[in-house]
């Protein structure tokens, strides 16, 4: 299989920060808003270089979403930033009415998504945001997998007309995608071609999927890995092409099984091509405090879980 190695680990939120630094230098219409989490969002450089284009909103996320919507009237491209929990469930109605229904070019860029937020615990570990944002008409939903992909996604988001929910995370994870890669919203990335099972993964689970595929390879199983970084619009063509070949699929996400990537893939398959599907996702529960690694293991989101589910999916083909 295609070999993926890494020389360093970085957090995806720093990829966002690097993307914002570049946008600050290249796109004078980009404005950044933050709800008292500047350090966590890694936007210090953007603010230092463009103080007039930064709006500190304080701990008042609902107002931040509205202010961002207003900034688009006048041609600005606002990035409203906070933790994923406070940029989705807390302000769902504000996003729905003032942004999505109003066709406003607002980018909601959120960090600390999912279990890997870690020690802060379940109050902050949003695991339902992809489901909520997928359900919203007119919303584009992106969940990149490493530093480089997040940076590229951030820059692509500024060039995309319309509301975007861009979700990334807190912990350092391997940097294994190409620097300065081309990022096309809505277009899947073929990580590894295989023939026995499709592993369709998003966000932090892409690296786990690569680890799992290596374990499977040692057992003589050829796994195809497809990275869906854009949950919506979904690259149905890439998914169907892969599953038509392998005849079974495992979906992997740091999110509830209900309503996330897995359900999006299932919706595509049930309409076009029936195949056994297994979910690597959180099973209808809240998270808890712990280290990211401990949580990923306890809630069944590790490479080992992907291997188990892949074997099960292959078995169900008969």
């Amino acid at each position: 299989m295609t070999k993926y190695t890494f020389t360093e680990k970085k957090d995806t939120r720093s990829g966002f920060g690097a993307g914002m630094t570049e946008l600050g230098r290249t796109n004078p219409n980009v404005v950044t808003l933050c709800a008292d989490l500047v350090g966590s969002l890694k936007i210090d450089t953007f603010i230092k270089e463009n103080p007039e284009r930064f709006i500190q909103c304080g701990i008042a996320e609902a107002n931040m979403i509205g202010v961002a919507a207003g900034l688009t009237i006048g041609g600005k491209i606002p990035f409203a930033t906070t933790f994923a929990n406070f940029g989705s469930s807390r302000v769902y109605d504000q996003i729905r009415q003032s942004v999505a229904y109003s066709d406003k070019n607002v980018k909601i860029a959120v960090s600390h998504a999912g279990l890997t937020l870690g020690e802060d615990g379940a109050t902050h570990q949003i695991l339902e945001d992809l489901a909520m944002m997928r359900a919203m008409p007119n919303m584009t939903v992106i969940n990149p997998c490493d530093f480089n992909q997040t940076k590229a996604a951030t820059i692509a988001a500024a060039n995309w007309k319309g509301p975007i929910y861009l979700r990334f995370g807190r912990p350092v994870v391997p940097v294994f995608t190409a620097p300065d890669q081309k990022f096309e919203i809505g277009k899947a990335w073929m990580v590894n071609e295989g023939k026995d099972v499709s592993i369709i993964a998003t966000g932090h689970l892409v690296w786990e999927a690569i680890q799992a595929a290596e374990i499977l390879e040692a057992q003589g199983i050829s796994a195809e890995i497809v990275n869906i970084h854009t949950i919506k619009p979904l690259d149905e063509k890439a998914i169907l092409m892969s599953v038509r070949k392998t005849k079974c699929v495992v979906t992997c996400e740091e999110h509830q099984a209900n309503g996330g990537l897995g359900d999006a893939v299932a919706q595509t398959l049930v309409k076009n091509f029936l195949a056994p599907q297994e979910y690597v996702a959180v099973n209808d529960s809240f998270g808890e405090s712990g280290t990211p690694a401990q949580l990923m293991e306890k809630y069944g989101l590790s490479a080992k879980n992907i291997v188990d589910k892949a074997l099960k999916a292959i078995q169900r083909k008969q």
């Binding site: 404005v31 007039e52 284009r53 709006i55 909103c57 304080g58 008042a60 609902a62 107002n63 931040m64 979403i65 509205g66 202010v67 961002a68 919507a69 207003g70 900034l71 688009t72 009237i73 006048g74 041609g75 600005k76 606002p78 109605d93 504000q94 729905r96 009415q97 003032s98 229904y101 109003s102 066709d103 406003k104």
Partner: protein, 290 residues
Amino acid sequence: MQNQELREIAVQVRRDIVRMVHACQSGHPGGSLGCTDLFVALYFQQMKLNNRKGKDGYISFNMDGKGEDLFFLSNGHISPVFYSTLARRGYFDVKELATFRKIDSRLQGHPTTHEHLPGIRVASGSLGQGLSVAIGAALAKRLNGDKNLVYCLMGDGEQQEGQVWEAAQAAPHHQVDNLIAIIDLNGQQIDGPTAKVMNNRDLKAKYKAFGWNVMEIKDGNNMDEVVAGLRKAKRLTGKGQPIMILLKTEMGAGVDFMMGSHKWHGVAPNDEQLEAALKQLVTSGTIGDY
């Protein structure tokens, strides 16, 4: 335009409002009638608006609104007065007012940009969001070096929404002094008098404490007072503080049986009531119904 002409237009807008809600047997006539004088004063005299017309003969509407004043309606349920004012001002055909709240219409129950109705810049109806949007638009004007103003109307019942107070603290903090917010103080909301449902208490003191420059218009249904108040508010802009106008109005103003209670907040008149209302709303005949 002279105030006498504004009064004439206001009568016509009130006729439109009661006819629109009667035609679809739904909608919110009470607050619409109460805010009619404000809308007419803003759109026909006080706001600086782009008057350039397109090939279709209507004002060519530009979402970005660069070089003109902007208005945001936060309490979107009083859409009838907004739609009538926009149509009468020349944004679209007044005949389209007949489609209000009907299937396939650009005139949705609550205002939206989604159907591309000229004059609307954000969807509203879920309360408490408009002031935040207005602040954003005002900040964009500042970033663009655009010296024009942003207006935002809210309801007094709407002041019960938490987001309003997030916005209330943000505007003075960022010294958004190109913003004139207005609260329609009609003292009524769906379940009854505002003082009984959830008392706002002293809004003047509250906004002052938040850092706003607060002024009052004691009779928001007297055109001369509304015009004078708006002129004064404009003079107060550009001095480091956002402006808040507490506009005292009568819900249902202009139609005697709709005044003095919350009952006509969201109720449409029947045929006889429409007839009775229109008898009280008489223009000199220069404009005419849609």
